[in-house]
Symmetry: D3
């Protein structure tokens, strides 16, 4: 796969120049994922910001302390990123949905238009909320929260769904602002 | 690849029940493409409409009598379909862009947000026009046509760009109205 | 009536230079309609495209093989063209609604805002669908199709409604892209 | 012409029950216009409001004390009403543009999409401002006012253009809120 | 409080140069309000227009002949002005809501997003209608009027609600067009 | 000031039940600010999430390691929150702009419509970018970044502006999702 023309439109430090803790974290990424996600490379331009990004991301997306499965969190990530037309996140989290679901068609449906996907009522409620909170946050009313409760989500789940939606509204805008390019490896992973 | 749950939400006739000319055309599709595109299966519910669809599609997208390359036409197809969030067309024409360009990343960029793709000035002018004619047709002015001319397009090219944009605004709406599901084979083709 | 300043912003061939089949078709238009619609004059710049346009248009809008009346098809044409603010189609198909309904007020209501027209439940369902498929195609769900069925439309009717909506999303964009001007005769026809 | 099914969705008092000054004014309307505009009939439900409406309308639209011609004011009325898709005002003020311009095509262009009309630079500046102040009032900046000055408008003209735009954003909403139906006579006037 | 850099971007006449009736009215404003609202100063550039503005404003917003309380009318003013993001009206009528309600939090809620305010069913119906008539006037249907009736509003109340909504769609656009700056005194009034 | 009817629509733990580090942090808030911001009370329902929120917020909004002044960061916060119509953030960060700028009118302008504020070219560039990245993140192009550079911002400043914009797109959505109510004390602070 050819490398993209850039990682970020802002300066990207060489890994060897980073603080030891960050170099160590990047080595751990390579061990676990086979790559250092380009978003981390780009954030290394502002190391204190990178540390906060990693900490918030890992708690939200990877923690066991949530009623949401990791697949559900990744499905939200893709739907929010589709609303915002964020290339970086659609590629990186589309791959995650393919990997976690084993269903490349599902991932592509969420990238294109989640309304065409054959979803469970729980997934539909979750993704309808994600779409609505992303596109018209000022129109959220108690009935929107209630629809999640009726689909079986707990109060803590409501918090987590909301924060994953909110987080990708943050990261989509960072990707847009810096014109982040995803690692090319994502494109061909989990396609079969 | 698992089959999608349906091809269309309207009745889809068995191929063996179709008129001879259509059965013959579908056999030709299998020979050339390895499949009968599901949109044709769905249109077979209204055979006279299918014949017109085939004729218009083939002239617009496959004819040698155009100053636009087939890749350029497919790039327009994907950008229009992204504006309209059309799952069927993004999958089918995303595959075509991968095949014709040999560049899976380019196809994914056009699916997500064509503005992040590294395009030539000619491609940028063409896709900016496609985006604008799709999303705000009432705002097109002479300056929009002039931008195409300045990018090197002829008057006939302007006609063809416009009609490809227009055509996918048609086919995207048919796919949405019938909830068309693309052939699952597209998902894994030309990924490497 | 004064002629408009142009028919199309792209070259418009003299009728006498066209292939015999097209000249013959244009003569038939004059016999039946009293004029050659300017959209056909403009498409003659790309003759193979004109033939496909004629064939698709006639099947969709004039064929007896449809559960939709010609007035219903023209009403859809006007509502879609109002969404897209397409001058050419509002003038040409507004005249058709006046002629077929004998009700100039109805035509003007559809041009301005179909929601103010006194419609039957069948017409309301049909035009609500046309409006929705035009403006938010990605939001169409099974409930939208079901509303048409409940208003008495057959599966084949659903196909035809969808394709008329889709077709005017195509032709509106051609009219916008080429800045097509309608024949001036339409303005005063069927006003009383 | 058939009467519309109603004048307003709120009660419409009989003319004979109105105060003498209003009855007199309505008789004057019949003398000058051949009809009492239905908007006045509808406002008569709230007589003090009607008197203010008449006074503001007449100053804005009919007064000699303005650098704008009455045609220019009516053109603005139609463009604003097209933005807001107001049936009543498009019919009533579309007729006024036909009468004052002697050009039915111009009126229909403004109803459909003012951008297709062959306008002078002065008219273009005026109507671009009307469109922008109607659809995105929060985005008006000094450059918008400056464009009017550069097109030859005086400071008092800027006031009057702005107030005509503002007024039809008012009256369009009254027509929508009350579902006002225009007098049927407008439809056939000044068509030739 | 510092004075704003300007009152209006158009000429603002000295009060001493105005006709006697207007000077008298401005003195009455100072007596009752402690200031001459800047909108009146700005309108004095077109004195006949100012007289109509005063007359319509006073009938609509201050008259005893209405089923709406003055607080209700001011709440509508703020919600409409929030839709249109009108600085002048949000400051002036936000102060009025603070004064009439004695509840600064309510005023700020209406400025930000009325949906977060703890409203009665009557207020909710009224403000939902105001929001809808402002943002999508072409989508108003009988069901919108009926929702007001079911919340207890009379036919005359429907007229008045509609006209207050309509009026602020007018005045917001005048404020935007002229870049009107509110009197600085409003900012600190009724904050506690 | 009356307390709002709730802090969050999800459970809000008593402070005395929180882990020692969080109780200590809340005491520090009271010492420095005179209150515990309600957003922190609401996040305490998910303590690990609260710690990440605090860490990211403090780095972004309070750190000395940024080329942006704290006032500039708060101005961005208000403009983003105005785009998203977020009551909580407009109240809390509107107060911060009043405190840091000493200019209540500036704060109200940013709440209503930043385009009416008398801004320096640097502030205008920064807030235009904030508005655009919030409302149309997919349309950001190199020219948007370049406009910031031309206004004197460094590459690190571009990172920080982008992340503050991104962060409030996150926190606005959390406030909407949980219906967060700001501490009533903000309303009257720094009004004079």
């Amino acid at each position: 796969m050819p490398q993209p023309p850039h990682i970020s439109r802002l300066p990207v430090p060489e890994i060897s120049t980073l603080d030891a803790d960050l170099q160590k974290y990047f080595r751990k990424c390579v061990e676990k994922l086979g790559l250092v996600p380009n978003v981390l490379r780009a954030y290394a331009f502002r190391p204190a910001h990178l540390r906060n990004f990693i900490s918030m991301y890992n708690e939200l997306m990877l923690s066991d302390d949530s009623g949401l499965s990791t697949l559900e969190r990744e499905m939200i990530a893709v739907v929010v990123s589709a609303c915002n037309r964020c290339y970086y996140c659609l590629i990186a989290h589309g791959q995650a949905v393919r990997e976690l679901s084993g269903d490349p068609q599902l991932a592509e449906m969420l990238v294109s238009n989640y309304r065409v996907a054959p979803l469970s009522p729980r997934q539909t409620a979750m993704l309808d909320f994600a779409h609505r909170l992303t596109t018209t946050p000022d129109a959220i009313r108690e009935s929107d929260r209630q629809a999640l409760r009726e689909a079986g989500f707990s109060e803590a789940d409501l918090f987590d769904i909301s924060e994953v939606v909110a987080f990708f509204n943050y990261s989509n805008r960072m990707a847009a602002a810096l014109d982040l390019m995803p690692n090319p490896e994502y494109h061909s992973m989990n396609r079969l």
